[in-house]
Amino acid sequence: MKSFSAFVDKNARFIFPLPAVLAILVLIVAPVVTNFVLSLYDYFVGGRAVYIGLENYQRAFGDARVWNGVRNTFYFTFTAVPLQLVLGIAIATLFNRDFPGKGIARTVILLPMVATPVAIALIWALMFNPSLGVLNYFLESLGLPRSLWVAQSNLAIPSLVLVDTWQWSPMIALILLAAMQSVPAEHYEAARIDGASGWQSFWHITIPSIRSAIVVALILRAVDALKTFDIIYVITEGGPGIASETLNVLAFKTGFQFFHAGYAATLLIFLMFTVLGIAILLNVIRRRV
């Protein structure tokens, strides 16, 4: 027994991280490797599996539907995330000062984030319904024309962006609020004494102080938004037609509805590198700021 504890003492730096390393191997490395191997096969689920090398990749590059998916993925992400950032900063600024009912308001604003995405999506799908949905009812009561929301190709992604923004702006607000609260009050006092306006102290003190938190929030949200699946699949299934079909939704359909597991794996490798590329890019920015 003594020799065992001596062994542990001596090799603690290998043994202690071992469970974590194993978990990462089993839960992350193994699926990625399996997925890559799968992407080299023409594998029809329940049928044949033929090794075809890089043919799936070749096909993906020439597949207009894949490019439609890439376009939609970027359109969705780069509309949703900046919008959420602006709203997130606004909400955080609001909660950074005192007002009556702040505690309750702060809890309420976190609710969209906590609720089950599929349940949220089902409710939004009902609200979007052009004939029976409550959103058009509101528009009409305000004297505005009705909208087709997700039922019209060119409005599908903006409508989904609305849902995503409703759901995830609070998360950005939460991260930024924590950062804002760590900005020393002296900075603001000094600025006030020097005659700075509220806007000036926001722009020249708050924003620079929370810059790195902004980038962290951006990385988290961008990575998440690129991979968004639940709300898109439940509300539009990528439709009308393929107007809101992102890479992730296309890969899901390819794998689990059309049963081409190999090609679906290829699309997911595409998605993985896209997400990775953007994460790395944002990380480089983060180091600079």
Binding site: G46, N129, S153, G241
Partner: protein
């Protein structure tokens, strides 16, 4: 004298013949002691079957094991056992519109014609003619019969008698031209004249009814996609005109839930969807009063090629590798007998036998026009409500995009041509 002897001899011969025949009669207990295993989808039919199986076991002495799985797992397990030719699986539930092409193509279907032709193996009361034409047709492949239908669904027209009356229309539209004219007459600012599904792949099971009624089909004789045929183009132009002019806003978003709730909320004067959605229109929690009181039913109006709806049929088949195919056939005959089907229909599942639908107790539970519209559709039904190919979902998806293009006012012929080309590529890839 001679004549009397002859008469005696003939009588004796006839009696002997009768005796011999009765020795070869169908005998329920012939396979006593055999055990069989059926794989079942978790479906209302299975719920009806489970408590009744003992009756079959008592009748025949055959021991039955039912393996029941939710649909996704059911389909995965089934293909696993059927493709590996598992000898211990004797039969299973199957929807030919889903996997018929795949199973027939792979040679996985046990044809039953030899059993049907053998009076010692087939109950004289089986009466194949009694099954609705559309239901039995689903199980009739060029090479023979590969199962029997247990339930059948089809789509019918739901319409509002009060709105018809207000618009001066008497009775349901009988032709597609009338359907268009009625939709135009019924259309108001708040009520759509007509609605049916438009949501891409999900709509194809309904638009196929128009496709058939305009003389189109999924595939041409050479096995290529026929979606771009002149008949198909005409069908989809009709569909687009009807939905774009008289349909609800955003038709490309309509799934069955949207279609039925629009109607149930009084926002559509006519809809076309599955007949099994009738309970929604009778449920006070889902439908407003005027809808509950004024809903009437009619079969699909006739197009240039007649009124040809698709039918959705579940049935039972014998596993090709079964070691007890005769006992499995006995089970199928019992489970789908006239008595069983009648009991199933009263249990709430649309049985596939015409005689069951004559049951008075059942007729009292459903509106007469719904029963009639359903029966008419079942007789005329085309089995392929899905494309008769292996990659069903992928082909429906390609076709669905043409449907959305038509609803959004894009070039219909071009969209169908693109879909046809894509379907051919998909089928070719799947056969590689």
């Amino acid at each position: 004298m001679l004549r009397a002897t002859l008469r005696m001899a003939i009588l004796a011969a006839v009696a002997l013949g009768l005796a011999t025949a009765s020795a070869q009669d169908f005998d329920w207990r012939r396979f006593e002691g055999t055990s069989i295993r059926f794989m079942m989808n978790q479906h209302p039919f299975t719920n009806w079957l489970q408590p009744n199986v003992q009756e079959f076991e008592a009748l025949t002495g055959i021991n039955v094991t039912l393996e029941v799985f939710p649909e996704d797992q059911f389909r995965q397990r089934r293909i696993l056992e059927v493709s590996s030719a598992a000898p211990t699986l004797d039969g299973y539930m199957v929807m030919p519109g889903q996997v018929g092409a795949q199973y027939l193509g792979a040679g996985w279907m046990r044809y039953l014609d030899d059993f049907v032709a053998d009076p010692t193996l087939t109950n004289p009361d089986l009466d194949l003619e009694d099954f609705f034409g559309g239901a039995l047709g689903t199980f009739q492949a060029p090479d023979g019969l590969f199962g029997l239908p247990l339930q059948i669904e089809s789509s019918v027209l739901f319409y509002r008698a009060d709105l018809f009356e207000a618009a001066g229309l008497s009775g349901p539209p009988e032709t597609m031209d009338e359907l268009m004219a009625y939709a135009a007459a019924l259309e108001t600012d708040t009520v759509a004249g007509f609605a049916m599904r438009g949501r891409g792949a999900a709509a194809t099971s309904q638009t196929v009814n128009l496709l058939y009624s305009f003389g189109g089909s999924w595939m041409d004789d050479a096995g290529n996609s026929a979606l771009a045929s002149p008949e198909s183009i005409a069908a989809h132009e009709f569909y687009a005109e009807l939905m774009r002019n008289y349909g609800p806003p955003g038709p490309a978003n309509l799934h069955w839930a949207e279609v039925t709730s629009l109607y149930a909320q009084g926002q559509a004067a006519m809809i076309f969807d599955a007949n099994v959605f009738r309970p929604i229109m009778e449920d006070p929690a889902q439908s407003i009063d005027v809808v509950r009181e004024n809903t009437r039913y009619a079969p699909l109006p006739a197009g240039p090629a007649g009124s040809v709806p698709g039918v959705l049929v579940w049935g039972l088949s014998v596993n090709h590798a079964s070691q007890n195919p005769e006992a499995a056939w006995y089970f199928i005959q019992w489970a789908l007998s006239k008595e069983s089907q009648e009991s199933l229909l009263l249990f709430g599942v649309p049985a596939a036998r015409a005689s069951s639908w004559e049951n008075e107790e059942f007729q009292a539970t459903a509106p007469a026009d719904w029963i009639e519209a359903s029966q008419v559709s079942f007789e005329r039904g085309q089995p392929d409500w899905n494309p008769p190919v292996i990659p069903v979902a992928e082909v429906r998806d390609a076709y669905g995009q043409a449907i959305v293009a038509a609803l959004e006012g894009r070039d219909i012929a071009a969209a169908l041509q693109r879909a046809a080309t894509e379907v051919d590529q998909i089928v070719e890839r799947s056969e590689r």
